[in-house]
Symmetry: D2
Subunit: 433 residues, 4 copies
Amino acid sequence: MAPPEYLVKIDLAKPAWEQEGVHNRWHPDVPAYKKIEQNKSYKIECFDWTGGQVGNNDSAHDIKYCDLTRIHYLSGPFFVEGCDAGDILKVKIQDVQPLERQPWGYCGIFAKENGGGFLDKHYPKAAKAIFDFEGIYCTSRHIPDVKFPGICHPGIIGTLPSAKILNEWNRRESKLVAENPDADFIMANLPTPQGAYAGLHASEDLKCIVGKHGARTIPGRPENGGNCDIKALTRGSTVYLPSHMDGGMLSVGDLHFSQGDGEISFCGAIEMAGCITIEVSVMKNGIEKLNMKSPMYLPSNLAPKFGADRYITFEGFSVDESGEQLCLDTTVAYRQTCLRVIEYLRRYGYNDYQIYLLLSSAPIEGNIAGIVDVPNSCTTIGLPKDIFNFDISPENDVEKKDRGNCAFSEDDLKEGFSLTDELPNFLLECLKK
Amino acid sequence: MAPPEYLVKIDLAKPAWEQEGVHNRWHPDVPAYKKIEQNKSYKIECFDWTGGQVGNNDSAHDIKYCDLTRIHYLSGPFFVEGCDAGDILKVKIQDVQPLERQPWGYCGIFAKENGGGFLDKHYPKAAKAIFDFEGIYCTSRHIPDVKFPGICHPGIIGTLPSAKILNEWNRRESKLVAENPDADFIMANLPTPQGAYAGLHASEDLKCIVGKHGARTIPGRPENGGNCDIKALTRGSTVYLPSHMDGGMLSVGDLHFSQGDGEISFCGAIEMAGCITIEVSVMKNGIEKLNMKSPMYLPSNLAPKFGADRYITFEGFSVDESGEQLCLDTTVAYRQTCLRVIEYLRRYGYNDYQIYLLLSSAPIEGNIAGIVDVPNSCTTIGLPKDIFNFDISPENDVEKKDRGNCAFSEDDLKEGFSLTDELPNFLLECLKK
Amino acid sequence: MAPPEYLVKIDLAKPAWEQEGVHNRWHPDVPAYKKIEQNKSYKIECFDWTGGQVGNNDSAHDIKYCDLTRIHYLSGPFFVEGCDAGDILKVKIQDVQPLERQPWGYCGIFAKENGGGFLDKHYPKAAKAIFDFEGIYCTSRHIPDVKFPGICHPGIIGTLPSAKILNEWNRRESKLVAENPDADFIMANLPTPQGAYAGLHASEDLKCIVGKHGARTIPGRPENGGNCDIKALTRGSTVYLPSHMDGGMLSVGDLHFSQGDGEISFCGAIEMAGCITIEVSVMKNGIEKLNMKSPMYLPSNLAPKFGADRYITFEGFSVDESGEQLCLDTTVAYRQTCLRVIEYLRRYGYNDYQIYLLLSSAPIEGNIAGIVDVPNSCTTIGLPKDIFNFDISPENDVEKKDRGNCAFSEDDLKEGFSLTDELPNFLLECLKK
Amino acid sequence: MAPPEYLVKIDLAKPAWEQEGVHNRWHPDVPAYKKIEQNKSYKIECFDWTGGQVGNNDSAHDIKYCDLTRIHYLSGPFFVEGCDAGDILKVKIQDVQPLERQPWGYCGIFAKENGGGFLDKHYPKAAKAIFDFEGIYCTSRHIPDVKFPGICHPGIIGTLPSAKILNEWNRRESKLVAENPDADFIMANLPTPQGAYAGLHASEDLKCIVGKHGARTIPGRPENGGNCDIKALTRGSTVYLPSHMDGGMLSVGDLHFSQGDGEISFCGAIEMAGCITIEVSVMKNGIEKLNMKSPMYLPSNLAPKFGADRYITFEGFSVDESGEQLCLDTTVAYRQTCLRVIEYLRRYGYNDYQIYLLLSSAPIEGNIAGIVDVPNSCTTIGLPKDIFNFDISPENDVEKKDRGNCAFSEDDLKEGFSLTDELPNFLLECLKK
């Protein structure tokens, strides 16, 4: 048997938007890049989610000024032989690996005014950590004393929408934006021609159409999956994706070396360029057969498993930072849970931005606990003890020591942060240096 | 060594509210029932959460008319020697067992107008399933072809609040209710003397005070834990609870034989009377040491573990049933995920109420996936395949067959449900019989 | 549903050999004690393996002089309705618990001249450790700083042999003894009337027959299972046993709270009186269907699971203590592996007898590694780090401290051990006191 | 950070014995190939164990005539800076991968007269199965309907012996051979100049010395580890190896894509050429500190984990095929266990050689059960159900169907096997074709 065929090979020395086999909008007219056969293994190289905008250095400048219209250069779309609209693509994820020629990745916190993140009210500045890959492990010079194996997975895997579905997306997301004119953050990223990429060989007309109407890649959506950021979609898992077009039109990208549940800092995984190996088959008429309204998957037994008792688990409730009681607001509960972990780890000398990056990128477990006992939702975060090279058990004495720093943007450091009460002390100190 | 001492023994033949060693409100003045020593094992019997209001029969009448002011007869409070306010109680949960003399439990769906539940807009009627315990397994005549081991745990474990904390609870929860006068459901259960129980020997004055101001037990709260419904608090786990009073004043109850993440039907676990074995120690000045604002725990390695690849996992997004786009509403996302599972299992012949009960009581895994990709939150539910005695894998042929029915209330069946479009067909058929 | 029926209740205050529902020989004529129905749960109380010869005290006198003809009072035999010879009994082990009225067990090292054990050349004296049960955990005052959850299981579960099978057992085991007249240890325990017990109501004739010909219970045997000491037969597992008689004639006993692979000290588990809950069904003509020549089982997902990376694993090879090379002798390899662990743990201040007891009773994992690379077999033992309340990782500094002592017999301590070079120093010190 | 440096790159187009960086004997004078630094990641390519003698084809000719003096071309030895004799090398196995340029491996059964295997009395002929790698999974055209993920590991990792140790090896292994002149199989492979390889640049004198005295690589040995075939030494594990020389002198090779406990067919793993990533550190004076007499390791949490309840486990006892009772012979017990699995799987249409290959190469779990109940040792094999694409549960109906065949040697097929009673029928049929 010959080795699996490569469907896409990428050139890290050239911009993503000059290469073939990738696109960055969901639109039914994006042309198929290649045909693939069922039940055959293929390898697909993928860009990191920014298409190479972020460098292996000690500044978060590139994160701060990252162009969010030029992201998610997905490999594909692939036309699966024998697949029609109404079928289901069953995609077996056989492997996900970093590129041998680029053995590093990064985790970023986006500035509140450029993408933001789950805790952006508290931590509004851009920041970054570089992770080096050593075999299946990673370490970061920006978050010392931490090491863990990757649960590599694609952040994005999905199918092209039909015209009808695309219209529905644009309707409901525009409505949300329209009804919230005073929102202090971007509630949804609507279509924009800026930065849109329909593939190397797209005609001017097609570019225009895809740019104007093509759905942005940032949210995952029930109809096609997409940007779900589910760490369980790791090597060995199988994902079931609805097909809305002839050929299914599968695209994949945004590979992560590792990620915590929630991917809370937004660029929150360890983002990497890499290679995914997949095998696809088709379940005829599967959408109807399975009553499928959103993707499902079979998890893998291959993910690294810390012992069930090797976590410290934190609880958070839907009472917000100001003591305001929310009613069953699980998002607020999860935010509280994140803050509890930050408060806990801060004791060891990490600063809050470092912990925020760590929570985003390490394999933390985020669970729903209670969601019915009015007015409090309760969520939990399990923090694996064994990613630290010191013992973080509650009983242990705490050694608060210098744990270095993550990368910030020179502009922020220069001009002085617009400091608020929420800002951590270390930033003040950073600025004084 | 002598066997562990029993701190509380309950009499199943008498009402809970005539027995000593239990109380059902959180108030600093509830008197300690007994003193306990550190680092010593104790056994504590606990009532089921309704104090015996629900019977082993085939009617949901008792659920429909359950008196929600007379619930959560917690065993305790226990005064831990050597514990002061500001310390942390470290409670090792050494075992949780059903009572040998009552080897069954129940899962209930509360009527929308009496407690409700996570899916009460869809399933507004009361329903019930009885589970029989066979060793560590359970089965239900009301949900046939299902069997699973229990991850037994206390639904409630917490400490008495200080007066200051109690005031804060009453302030913020009253404010929520006051600010939402038009809510179509009860947003918070405020203090009420009705059904309040401060212990068998409480004076009239004390009863009055506890009734008027004592916090209700329905929500868990960050300050003392309480009703967190975390299935991970099973035998072998250790929970860290803040102490706000001399002696810590620990109470525990609402034992569950099993529960799914979210406990979605509200009375959603397999509720049981049982016995918990605990050992307590004190971390002096622990609240400050750990920066603790809400409880944390160390999970156990003793819970039943289905293989990592023995789940089917469903995804749900923050687009609601009507197609409305919500912005990062994780509660809506989790509701969608629940509905996806119901739609999937319905194919086998279970009716929606049965599945709703099953999702509540079986060890489903509810996880946060993505929580930053505006506007969609994404949550997942892992449904263990091995709890069914048939194969529910997506590839398998579906045999839709008669799977019996759960219990309803005669009143509902008699008068005819107030049917709405959302109501499942089977109810129509029930009524016709 | 009524609670499961008790098939056997034992009286701890009376000798086992005066009670009904138990027997201690394998013979086809032992009368059925009770009939049981298929697919129904039953509870069965069982004696500890010595029928109460061993006490909760600090002397190993009872171990030293234990009467090995009066052991293994198995509960049963039970006649399974609908079962014939040639069928298979499928026994679901639904629970195994200690008796609430006797929350302790023991692990013993038998003297070389009375039963011996896997390392009896090195450790020829009787010794004992008492374990106290605290919920699902145990601790021992004789092996301090150790605590672990039990993987409770029956040491013995089997079916009565047919006359033909019994004859074959007696033939092959007698042959082994006859051909090794100079063996310095007992190679097989042949039938003896001494201590034989065929049940309370057995006639004199039957007693005589069973005593003369009934197979001893010490070895497990392929034809009926019996004394297999497989810790995986814990709650939640299912064992398939061949039936050689009408009714299958199932017996069970020798319950263990916990055990390491190999049960190396012979009385090597934490032996306890307890209660097992089972449910039996019959696979008609199963022996032929499954080509079954020895029992098989489906393990459980309910056993405590230390994290896969929470073990230290030791390797042993078939080169014996004197440097002699054996050819693929896996028994010698496993003995070497045991010795490696003893050498490692000795550094912390435990004496060798304590470690020997610990290896026998704690959930160590004993695996076959290589068994084909002449001349060395290689076996491994995984020692769970988390059973110790200090960190035994190789990198850690070793604190050698007083770890107390296990129990010995007064007779040994008085007369002075017959010391040899292999004997550990601590014994010398014991004697000097 | 630069990608890890490659210490060895191999050329698959040239014989192993013409390449640098490899050797195939254990001898203190084998010169260090390269120096390595502590705490730094390196990549090392390794030949398959036969150095390329086996091809991807449908004949076992290459297995039958494999030259066993020309095997185990280990990569190394590597001189670890800062390491002396008496220290311990702590080798972190960070990754093990097949070569992208050769995505296949093989499992072989060696002929009884050329290497043999654990069941060679039953299955004396050479046979082979080729496995193709698809991501982290493998399948074999020679054993259809089977698929599983690899637990990749080095079959051999060890250190050069000191002269004293080498002498001891030669003494004890020669003694074994000398004392068993009539053995009907090779009990130990003693040194031979034939096929010896001391590295590309070895002088004639050195070649001569290493050939004459250098220890063969077939057995693992307690003093240096070597050929232990422990599947737990997979990515993420850490192995502790004693250093007997300046620099430790580490060598590694014989990579396996997967292997069952025991590696029973001798060439029993899925043998592959591949690449291992390691990081080494030194524990000064470690041998004395740890009382180390043989290697130990910390297993990984990264190996594929079938659910604990997804195995069928078979029991085997020390009663041999002819009904002869052995006394605590664990090797015989394990052989019986293997035969029980073969008998079970034969029902599905696989022939015995296919199953023998499968047992060797798939991740079966081989455990010691009881090793003290004279006269029977009891061992178990856990066979994972989920490697089959059909359900092998005992309850299921058995579909016996054509499962193809493994590869044999033309010579055997031509001349007719020297058939014996033990030989399976399919071979007769093979010969008739």
